[in-house]
C-alpha cells in the first residue's frame, strides 16, 4: 500500500499499518482524506469542486476530533461538541454552495433556461456580457459552460 515504500526512509521507522489498530490508523486515514480535499480545492477552478474539496477537509477534521476524543480524552465529549459545530459550518457551506449554483444558473445562458421574462429580450445582450469582475459571471468559469 501507500505506506510500504516509506518504510525505508529515515523518520518513517514506525510502520503504522503493522502496529495494533488504533489512533494512528484513523489519523492516517484522515490525513489521506485531507490531502484529497486539498488537491480538489487547489487543482480545480470550478466552485462546486472547490466546495466539495473543503467538505472533504472538514470531514477529515471531524474524524480527527472524534478519534482524539475516543482514544486520548474519553472522559469528556469536547471533541464531539466541536464536531457538531463543524457540522454547522458544513451545513452553512452547503447552503451557500447551492445558492451560488442557482445564481450561476440564472445569470448564465443555457439551452434549458427558464421562460424569458417579458421585456427581457432587449436587455439580454448586455446581461450576457457581464463584468469580468463579477464572481457570479459564468464566463469566468470555463468548466461551467455548456
Amino acid at each position: 500500500m501507500l505506506i510500504f515504500p516509506l518504510q525505508g526512509a529515515s523518520g518513517f521507522a514506525l510502520p503504522i499499518i503493522q502496529s495494533p489498530l488504533g489512533l494512528p490508523h484513523v489519523l492516517t486515514l484522515a490525513a489521506a482524506l485531507f490531502a484529497l480535499g486539498l488537491f480538489a480545492a487547489l487543482a480545480h477552478r470550478s466552485f462546486l469542486r472547490i466546495l466539495m474539496g473543503l467538505q472533504l477537509m472538514l470531514v477529515a477534521a471531524m474524524l480527527n476530533l472524534v478519534a482524539f476524543t475516543t482514544y486520548l480524552h474519553p472522559e469528556g465529549l469536547h471533541g464531539h461538541v466541536i464536531t457538531l459545530l463543524l457540522v454547522l459550518v458544513a451545513l452553512a457551506q452547503l447552503g451557500l454552495g447551492l445558492a451560488l449554483a442557482g445564481r450561476l444558473m440564472r445569470t448564465s445562458r443555457g439551452p434549458t433556461s427558464d421562460a424569458p421574462v417579458p421585456g427581457a429580450e432587449a436587455a439580454e445582450a448586455p446581461a450576457l456580457q457581464a463584468s469580468e469582475n463579477d464572481p457570479l459571471n459564468v464566463d469566468r468559469y470555463d468548466d461551467l459552460r455548456w
Binding site: P20, G22, L23, L29, S46, Q55, T70, H80, L91, A99
Partner: protein, 174 residues
C-alpha cells in the same frame, strides 16, 4: 473483526473521496459525497461515538441528499466539471502540495508516541454510554460551548439569509 470493519470503511471513504475529486459529472460527484458522509458516519460509530454518527447521518448526509434531490435538474445542467483550460492546469502543483501535506502528516503520526494504540483497549466511561452520553453532550454544549454554539447558529442563519438573497428575483435582491 474490528480490523476488517475499519479497513472496509476506510476503503469506502477513500474511494468515495477520490470519486468526488475526479468524477466529471457533478451529479456523480454529489452522490460520491453522500457515500463519503455515510461511510464517515460508520467510521464515527466504529470509534464508539454512536450519537455523533447519528447526528452526522441525520444532519449532514440527510441535508446533502435533500439538496441533491432539490438540485437534481440544476446539477444535470452544469455540465462537465473537469473540462478547463489546459494552459491553466494546476493539477501538477496541487498534487505536489497534497502529497507533501500527506507525507509530513504521516511522518508526524509515525514518530509521535501516542501511548494508547490498540483499539481493543478503548474502554467507554460512564459519560460515554447510551443516554448518559447524550446528557453529557447536551450539558457540555449549552454550558462550556454556548458561545460557540450561538456563533455557529448565527453562521447558519447568515448563510440561509444570503442564500435567499442570492436566489431572490433581481428586483428584490438589492
Amino acid at each position: 473483526m474490528d480490523a476488517i470493519v475499519f479497513y472496509a470503511l476506510a476503503a469506502v471513504m477513500l474511494a468515495c473521496g477520490a470519486a468526488m475529486v475526479w468524477l466529471s459529472r457533478p451529479l456523480h460527484a454529489a452522490i460520491a459525497l453522500i457515500g463519503l458522509l455515510i461511510s464517515t458516519a460508520g467510521m464515527v460509530a466504529w470509534l464508539k461515538a454512536e450519537f455523533m454518527a447519528l447526528a452526522l447521518l441525520s444532519t449532514l448526509a440527510g441535508s446533502v441528499a435533500l439538496l441533491l434531490m432539490l438540485a437534481f435538474p440544476l446539477l444535470g445542467r452544469l455540465g462537465n466539471l473537469t473540462a478547463s483550460r489546459p494552459d491553466e492546469d494546476r493539477s501538477f502543483w496541487a498534487g505536489i502540495v497534497a502529497v507533501l501535506a500527506l507525507v509530513i502528516t504521516y511522518r508526524l503520526l509515525a514518530t509521535t508516541p501516542w501511548g494508547l494504540e490498540d483499539h481493543a483497549q478503548v474502554a467507554l466511561t460512564e459519560a460515554q454510554r447510551g443516554l448518559a452520553a447524550i446528557r453529557t453532550f447536551g450539558e457540555t454544549l449549552i454550558t462550556e460551548y454556548a458561545l460557540a454554539l450561538m456563533a455557529g447558529l448565527l453562521l447558519v442563519g447568515v448563510a440561509i439569509a444570503s442564500a435567499l438573497a442570492m436566489t431572490a428575483p433581481e428586483e428584490d435582491a438589492c
